[in-house]
Every structure is written in C-alpha cells, then in structure tokens.
C-alpha cells in the first residue's frame, strides 16, 4: 500500500511550472522596454489598441476556460465601460472621478446580476442570451440619440487631471502603452491566481458537471455568476482604457461583431491557458494590420488563415506552444 505522505506529494501537487513563470517574467520585462527601444508612435499606438483588444479577449477566454460558456456578447461590458465613463462626463452628470470608478464597477456588477439568471442556461442558449443582452443595450445606445449621438458616436473630453494623474498620459501612445501593458499583466496574473485557488477549482468542477457539484455540497449559481462578473470586469476595464485613449465612444463598442472578434481572438490564442487569448489577440491584431496594408483582399487572407490555423492547431496558439514545449522537454 502506498504511504499517505508520498501520495500527497505525487497525486495532489501539480507539476511545478518554473520554466513557464521565468518565461513570463522575461516577456513582461521585455515588453516594458519596447517604448525605449525606439518603437515608433504608430507601432506603440497599434500596440495600445492590440493590448486593449487582448484584455477584452482575455475576459471572453477566461469565461470559456472557467465556466465553459461562450459569450457572444462581451462587447456589452466593453461598451458599458466606455458609456458609463463618457456619457456622464459629456453631460456633466457626475464628478469625473466618480464616473471613472463607476465605469470600472458597473460592468462587473451588471454581469453578476445578469449572471445569476443567464448562467443557469446551458450551451448555445447562453451564447444567444448573452448576444441578446448585448444587442439590446446596443440598440439603446444606437436609438437614444440624446445619450451619445446614436450611430455617430460622441467625442469625450476629459478634465486635464483625474485622481491627480495627468490625463494626457492616457492619450499619449508611449505612456499609455506602459499603462496598458502593466494592467494586462496584472489582470493575467490575477486571473491565473484565481484559477489556482480552491474557488477556481470549484468553478472548473461546476463547468465539468454542475449536478455532481451540487451533490457534493456546493452552491453552483453564484460561482458561475462570479466568473461571469470577473470576465465582464476585465472587458469593462478594456472599454474604459479604450475610451481614455480614443476619447470617443460609439455603439460599435457594443456591437456583436466586436464580441465576435474577441471570441475569434480568444479561440485563436487557445482558451486552455489564461494568457492564450491575449496572445491570440495581439497576433491576430497585427496579422490583420499587416495583411490589411498589403492587400485589399485581406478578408479572404484572414479567412483562409483562420481556417488553416484552426484546422492545424485546434487548441490555439497557446496549445501549440505548450505542445512544442512538451516535445522539447520530452
């Protein structure tokens, strides 16, 4: 009979992933140096947009990873971050600082409440519900022109300082790049820690077999809603950053095509790793930029690439990398 002590060590401790974390640190550090390595403003500006996209994709991917739910409507939270920030500012409804705080909180809060209801619903029905919620909000901001000019969108002007911070920093590609990079890193680390926590394990169990989770004594609705809220909060943060950087909000921020492309990016990156979607987003963003510059037929090129990449690497880029590493190690 195996002795209990050895069993604990082998069966329960997950394999240590030291090389992974070292690699992560290197990537993180290298990223910070970029603006000082003579990257052009154009590149930095694109990077800012890519990172914002990466954050949105991270939210979407995290939901897939942790809840097994495919959201077609995460743009709702992205856009909500923008509108909760921009609309009160433009109409002078709230002190700017309050608007910022609300913009960070409201998407997650709304998601939690929504989540209590809609995350009970499985599979594609959930996808469609999330789409419906998002499109309903989209139609509201589209049709209520007094909010922010409907389809035409609205420029948002910020006070010069917020929380004592120079808002100009949020609009300059160089400083904004650093801010976004740091925030993305923080988000990824935070989510990663979540997945390692007991609560994270519980959400995975619920994803795998909700009924059984109930029969081993766990409440299953709140954890689902909590994951939904967390992923929405990340999307909302992305929306807030986008609004600061662009100084502009429009219904497109909530449109399903944005939800769709976030999902595409997440899947390309692979949702099994927390950082997969972010990687997918950045790669996809730049690939699209490059192809878009090169040919008018970029949709076809992207389409074909998407098909080929998915057929060859169904587990996404992160899955592919993991496999390469595994083979190297073996």
């Amino acid at each position: 009979m195996t002795s209990p002590a050895t069993l604990t060590a082998t069966a329960l401790a997950r394999p240590a992933r030291a090389p992974g974390s070292v690699l992560a640190l290197i990537v993180l550090g290298a990223g910070c140096l970029l603006p000082f390595a003579g990257a052009s403003p154009l590149l930095l500006s694109l990077l800012v947009q890519a990172i914002i996209g990466a954050m949105l994709a991270t939210g979407v991917g995290f939901l897939v990873r942790q809840n097994g739910m495919v959201s077609f409507g995460h743009a709702l939270f992205f856009g909500l971050g923008g509108y909760v920030l921009g609309v009160p500012l433009a109409h002078g409804l709230l002190p700017p600082e309050v608007a910022v705080l609300l913009a960070l909180v409201v998407p997650a809060l709304l998601a939690f409440l929504l989540g209590l209801v809609i995350t009970r619903i499985p599979g594609v029905a959930f996808s469609m519900l999330s789409l419906a919620c998002a499109q309903t909000f989209y139609e509201v901001v589209l049709k209520v022109r007094t909010l922010a000019n409907g389809d035409d969108g609205m420029s948002v002007t910020f006070p010069a300082r917020l929380f004592g911070l120079d808002v100009g920093l949020l609009q300059d590609p160089r400083s904004m790049y650093l801010i976004c990079w740091a925030l993305l890193a923080a988000v990824l680390v935070g989510l990663w820690l979540f997945t390692r926590s007991p609560y994270g394990l519980l959400t995975l169990a619920i994803r795998s077999n909700e009924e059984r989770a109930r029969f081993i004594g766990y409440e299953t609705v709140v954890p689902r809603a909590a994951v939904y809220a967390l992923s929405a909060g990340v999307a909302g943060l992305a929306g807030v950053l986008a609004t600061f950087y662009n100084g502009f909000i429009s219904p497109d921020m909530m449109h399903w095509t944005l939800s769709g492309s976030a999902l595409v990016m997440a899947v390309i990156g692979g949702t099994r790793a927390v950082w997969g979607p972010a990687l997918g987003a950045v790669v996809f963003f730049f690939f699209k930029e490059i192809v878009g510059d090169a040919t008018e037929h970029w949709p076809a090129v992207i389409g074909i690439t998407l098909i080929v990449v998915t057929l060859c690497a169904p587990a996404g880029l992160s899955g592919l990398l993991a496999r390469l590493f595994a083979r190297r190690a073996a």
Binding site: M1, T2, P4, L7, T8, T10, A11, L12, P198, L201, L202, L204, A205, R207, S208, N209, E211, R212, A213, R214, F215, I216, G217, Y218, E219, T220
Partner: protein, 235 residues
C-alpha cells in the same frame, strides 16, 4: 430510544402520470446497512432521488436525524450529512481524480481523501483526468466522491455494478467498516446478491413503486414473493 438516521414518510413521485414511487415508508437506524432491492424499474433509484432532492417530492417527508429536510436543495442536504453516488456514473470528467476528491472533501490537501483513494484503489490514477480512466474506475471514483465528505448517511446506487467480484467484496467490506467505525448509515441499492446478503443488516424490497417486503437477509431470501418477483435462482 434513538432517532432513526434517516426516515421517509409516504414518499411518492410520478413522471407524467406514471407512478414511479407510490407512498413508500422507510426508517433506517444509525449505523445500519440497509439494502434496497427490487426488479428493474421498481423505483429504487427514484427513492434515492427523492431522498436526496434530485427529484422533487410529490407528497411525503424526508427526515434526517429527526430533522425535516424535505424543503432543502440537494446541496443543503449534502451539507446536512446526506451523500450519494449514482447509478449512471456521475463524475467530473475534466478534473483529475485527485482534484475532485480534494474538492469533495472540501480541503486544500488530501487528509481523509487519501484514505478513501487508497481504500478504493484509486491512488495510482489520482493524477489522471477522469475522462481517461476505465469504466470500473469511474464507478469507484463516483463512490469515493460520496464517501470523502464523511457523510452520516450514504446512499449508494449499485456501487458494485461493473466491478469484479473480488472488488465487489472488497467494497462490501469497506462499507461494513464504514458503518461500524464511523457510524455511517448506508442505504445500498444493488443487484449483486452476494454483496447485499453479505453486508446488509436489513433489506427493503420495492416492487412497482411500493414496498413489497422488509426484513433481515434471511427473511428476505426465503420470502416467496421476493423470490418470484426478483431473486429467481439467486435465492
């Protein structure tokens, strides 16, 4: 006089007009191993579902240690000390065996979990995802998930199905042991008569959703109604 560990009064359940369970009364003492047998479709799994709250009760009361738990959700019943395994294996396919045992034991490490893993012979495959283990292993995992929460009352739906005879007997020993040492009350639905007659203190026989007979193994074994409806040559 001590309260029964679990008691059901006039338990009923219908499926669209079909009476799967029809006014069954049941009283099981603490530490008892109670066998539930009966022909296929007699309502045994339905009884388990009604006791654990998987299927809503239509009439009837469930008492756990004297406390009425009829209105509680499955989760709350589990926390109150009522655990179960399933006839159709019901495990977390995406988690490793160790992970789900840890979760079910509600602990960060596996203290009492190990004992269960070892006892059920799952220790060697603790690091494997449940999706990759054989059917028999999954059945044992299902049982382990129910056991590891240290329940007062344990409902087992055909735990020996798919196990080799040796393993069935080992499991029977384990169950007996549980009942003795931890005063766990066991309700055992099983078609393996060797196991049933080997370890049950008393046996309840269901037929067509109703109580057909109840008694000691010896009484049941010789009950002609039970023989013709259920046991056949196994008697």
């Amino acid at each position: 006089m001590t309260l029964p560990a679990i008691e059901g009064r006039a338990l009923s359940r219908t499926y669209g007009g079909f009476r799967a369970l029809d006014g069954v009364d049941l009283k099981v003492a603490r530490g008892e191993v109670r066998g539930i047998i009966g022909p296929n479709g007699a309502g045994k799994s339905t009884l388990m579902d009604v006791l654990t709250g998987r299927a809503a009760t239509r009439g009837g009361t469930v008492l756990l240690g004297g406390r009425d738990i009829s209105a509680l959700a499955p989760r709350a019943r589990q926390r109150a000390g009522l655990a179960r395994s399933f006839q159709k294996t019901n495990v977390f396919l995406d988690l490793t065996v160790g992970e789900q045992i840890r979760l079910a034991g509600r602990c960060a490490t596996l203290d009492n979990g190990e004992e269960v893993l070892v006892a059920l012979g799952l220790a060697e495959i603790a690091h494997r995802p449940a999706a990759d283990i054989s059917y028999g292993d999954r059945r044992r995992l299902d049982l382990a998930l129910a056991l590891v929460g240290r329940p007062q009352v344990l409902l087992l739906d055909e735990p020996a199905a798919g196990l080799t005879v040796e393993e069935s007997l080992a499991m029977a020993d384990l169950l007996k042991d549980l009942a003795r040492r931890w005063h766990v009350t066991v309700l055992l639905v099983e078609h393996d008569m060797e196991v049933v007659f080997g370890i049950c203190d008393r046996i309840t026989v269901l037929h067509l959703g109703r109580l057909l007979a109840e008694g000691t193994p010896a009484e049941i074994r010789s009950d002609p109604r039970v023989i013709s409806a259920y046991l056949g040559t196994a008697a």
